[in-house]
């Protein structure tokens, strides 16, 4: 829950940012989409928004013709329909952009763009995995079922993560999926990490979220914005023995993330951080914390800066461990920073750029949460169907053979498959360097809805055996609930999706 709430930012927050930052930003989505521009071109945010708006029609006209070839038949059909309907008005071209047209914004993706031109790449089924990803899936599935599964119930009841298991996760290389080999990681790609997170969640969503936060938020932050020195200092440890944690949310700032009140001040040889953080995932296990604090509140959100705090820092303390409904084995704590002094080398990236990093990371992070949720849904579904199709008989037949059951089971599988298609499409788009913000939001929103629905139905299919704490059915359902809350609530995802759509369809 590193990020309960994040990023979509409420209208109130936008208002505050405007005042504080003196920037007429329309909304956070706009800001976020355009972040890549100021980074590369160095124009102001305002200019970039203006440029983007005026450049849009021209650039989309080009895209229309060059992309058409690459469209899959089904999409081509839908595009034809759309184009036909809007053919009379040339202005409509912008509106009728095919929905899978690669957009050019880079969206602060942590992986380098793999293809500059995708027109020559033959389309493959979205379920296709590379050799590495398939090997990852097999290895993680085996490890999860043999090693994690026997511990799942006990860890949930004890509300704590088995330290021996954390050690084994490091040994397996699961904590350094994308960290390059030179730093002791596996050097795999983003989708491989997604595959791993999904496979873990099929067995235990708590272990899955620990691995997810560590890989997609913490490791990625260092890989992307850490200096060579920071990388050398921390990546080998993050890959082999140090759990990381991502500290953004606060008592006063959840969905309205940039309202954070933790302050940082410059000292002679570093920084001093004071404030508190809340809902911080992994904080019991972690020794390494990425902390967002405002270095210059007069600049509003543009004062937000990212720092690295190690657990032994003086003034740092874990105030309270939350007792939760689900993902109980994953720790969630309140952290206090009482004038914590850190050396100046512990600045991550640049001063005042923390908000950009947070947005970029959380956009990617949502794909990880989507993977956790599809894995959870699949795990709950499999757990239940194995029971109703093999064990439980009523009225002289297996309960899974009644049509009323079969239709529910089939419907659920369809929904899981749809969520996974959204998930893998978002992951592939990110890897291809395309704009994936809406895709990530859609994948996260839908997979969390499906996870909750399917895991709830699964309990009903299993009857009493689903309701007792002997099996895992009830646990999947409790665990599913968090999917609609952390890394952007469902309403925030819907805001994001709607805003991006509205922008596209506004003439």
């Amino acid at each position: 829950m590193a990020t309960l709430g994040f990023w979509g930012v409420s209208p109130a927050a936008v208002g505050r940012m405007e005042t504080l930052g003196k920037l007429p930003v329309e909304d956070m989505n706009e800001l976020h989409l355009d972040l890549s521009v100021p980074l590369t071109v160095g124009t102001s945010l305002l200019d970039s928004i203006a440029n983007r708006a005026s450049a849009a029609p021209a650039s989309t006209t080009i895209t229309m013709s060059s992309i058409a070839r690459a469209l899959r038949p089904a999409l081509r059909r839908s595009q034809t329909v759309m184009t036909r309907a809007s053919a009379p008005s040339p202005r409509c071209q912008r509106i009728c952009r095919p929905f899978n047209a690669p957009q050019q914004a880079r969206c602060l993706s942590a992986t380098p763009r793999r293809f500059s031109d995708m027109t020559e790449i033959p389309p493959t089924p979205i379920s296709h995995l590379s050799e590495t990803e398939a090997a990852m899936q097999e290895a993680v599935s085996k490890f999860a079922n043999d090693v994690i599964l026997p511990k799942v119930r006990d860890m949930d009841e004890a509300e704590s993560m088995d330290p021996a298991l954390v050690e084994q996760l490091f040994e397996q290389g699961l904590m350094g999926v994308e960290i390059p080999e030179e730093y002791g990681g596996a050097g795999m790609n983003f989708t491989a990490a997604i595959v791993g997170i999904e496979e873990l969640a099929r067995v235990d969503p708590s272990v899955s979220v620990m691995v997810d936060v560590h890989n997609t938020l913490v490791n990625t932050a260092i890989l992307k914005w850490g200096s060579t020195d920071l990388k050398k200092r921390f990546l080998p440890a993050l890959a082999t023995n140090t759990v990381g944690s991502f500290c953004l949310s606060e008592p006063v700032s959840g969905s309205d993330a940039f309202a954070l009140a933790t302050k940082a001040t410059k000292t002679a040889d570093g920084y001093k951080i004071s404030g508190s953080k809340m809902w911080i995932t992994n904080s019991m296990e972690a020794n390494f914390f990425i902390v967002f604090a405002n270095l210059d509140p007069s600049k509003g959100y543009k004062g937000i800066t990212a720092f690295i705090v190690e657990k032994d820092a003086k003034g740092f303390s874990i105030a309270k461990k939350e007792k939760k409904l689900g993902i109980k084995a994953s720790s969630t704590c309140v952290l206090n920073f009482d004038d914590v002094e850190i050396p100046k080398d512990n600045l991550l990236g640049k001063e005042g750029e923390g908000y950009k990093y947070a947005i970029g990371l959380l956009n990617e992070g949502r794909i990880g949460i989507a993977a956790q949720m599809t894995g959870l849904a699949l795990g709950a579904w499999e757990n239940a169907v194995k029971y109703v199709w093999n064990d439980r008989k009523q009225f002289g037949q297996l309960v899974g053979e009644f049509q009323g059951m079969q239709h529910q089971i089939a419907q659920s599988y369809v929904e899981i498959s749809a969520a996974r298609a959204l998930l893998y499409n978002a992951a592939r788009k990110k890897e291809a360097g395309q704009d994936f913000v809406r895709d990530a939001a859609m994948a996260k929103l839908y997979s969390s809805q499906v996870a909750q629905r399917v895991s709830g139905l699964a309990i009903e299919w299993m009857g009493g055996m689903g309701f007792v704490r002997e099996g895992l059915a009830e646990k999947y359902w409790r665990d599913s609930k968090i999917g609609a809350i952390y890394e952007g609530t469902s309403n925030i995802q819907l805001n994001t999706i709607a805003k991006l759509l509205q922008k596209e369809y506004t003439v």
């Binding site: 050799e131 590495t132 398939a134 090997a135 990852m136 097999e138 290895a139 085996k142 490890f143 043999d146 090693v147 040994e171 397996q172 290389g173 699961l174 350094g176 999926v177 080999e181 002791g184 990681g185 596996a186 050097g187 795999m188 491989a192 791993g196």
Partner: protein, 255 residues
């Protein structure tokens, strides 16, 4: 003793957790779309080879894994290399073309000559056809010592002590290299391939060849007449006590 050059034959089989189903023509089991993985006994062989090296039980110069099978057999070779084998040899056989144990043994003999192996560690059987013949046939063809169903392997100078579980205890045999060892369930617990090692395995050499490159032909001596599912088990009955048992047995004419 000279450094070990270990050859580890591995086979891609239907995963042990999958329930095999007989195909419609009753000529074999359904393999299309079914999860496959490395024969569990072969995992033990790979693990033991890597442990011999890691524990420095004996100097190991090379651990080569070899598999005969369809292109997908490369997956199990990669897994073996991720577990610690140095390189792989893939003998390509068309999908659906089965090799009999004698053909495999002949192929392995040729591979032993080619790779100058002095120790072959292989599973005692593969879990698909359960023939449990290849290791013994290979030792016979090579004229080497053999120790089957190993539950422990120990090196003492230039001799190898291999323990096998037998009825009522353990039997240990002693042999000199070169030799063939077949592995059994309790020999070790195979490791999981870690992610960094999966990546490293991609860079390890994997050579492709055909049966004819090894001078072997796929001669078939056996004909599968029919494959059927075992009859479903008849449920038994419960008796209350010893008297009940006796009267039941009497009733059935057993006593």
């Amino acid at each position: 003793m000279s450094a070990l050059r270990i050859l580890v034959p591995v086979k891609r089989v239907i995963d042990y957790a999958v329930k095999p189903r007989v195909n419609k023509a009753q000529t074999g089991v359904e393999t299309a779309g079914v999860k496959h993985s490395m024969n569990p006994f072969d995992e033990l062989s790979v693990e033991e080879s890597v442990r011999i090296r890691e524990k420095k039980s004996a100097p190991v110069e090379d651990i080569c894994v070899i598999s005969a099978g369809p292109p997908k057999a490369q997956d199990v070779l990669r897994t073996a290399m991720a577990m610690g084998a140095d390189r792989g040899v893939h003998v390509e056989v068309k999908d659906g073309e089965e090799l009999e144990p004698l053909a495999v043994a002949k192929m392995l003999r040729a591979a032993v000559d080619k790779e100058k192996s002095n120790l072959v560690i292989l599973g005692k059987q593969s879990i698909d056809d359960d023939a449990a013949q290849t290791g013994q046939m290979l030792a016979g063809l090579l004229g080497w010592a053999q120790a089957t169903q190993a539950s422990a392997v120990k090196f003492e100078g230039d001799t190898v002590l291999v323990t096998k579980e037998v009825d009522g205890g353990a039997e240990t045999v002693k042999a000199k290299l070169p030799m063939v060892i077949t592995t059994d369930l309790r020999l070790n617990e195979p490791r999981y391939a870690s992610l960094p090692n999966i990546m490293k395995a991609k860079k390890k050499p994997l050579v492709k060849m055909s049966l004819s490159d090894l001078g072997v032909a796929n001669e078939r001596r056996l004909k599968v007449v029919k494959v059927t599912e075992p009859a479903p088990r008849q449920g038994g009955g419960k008796v209350e006590d010893v008297d009940g048992l006796i009267s039941k047995l009497k009733e059935l004419g057993a006593i």
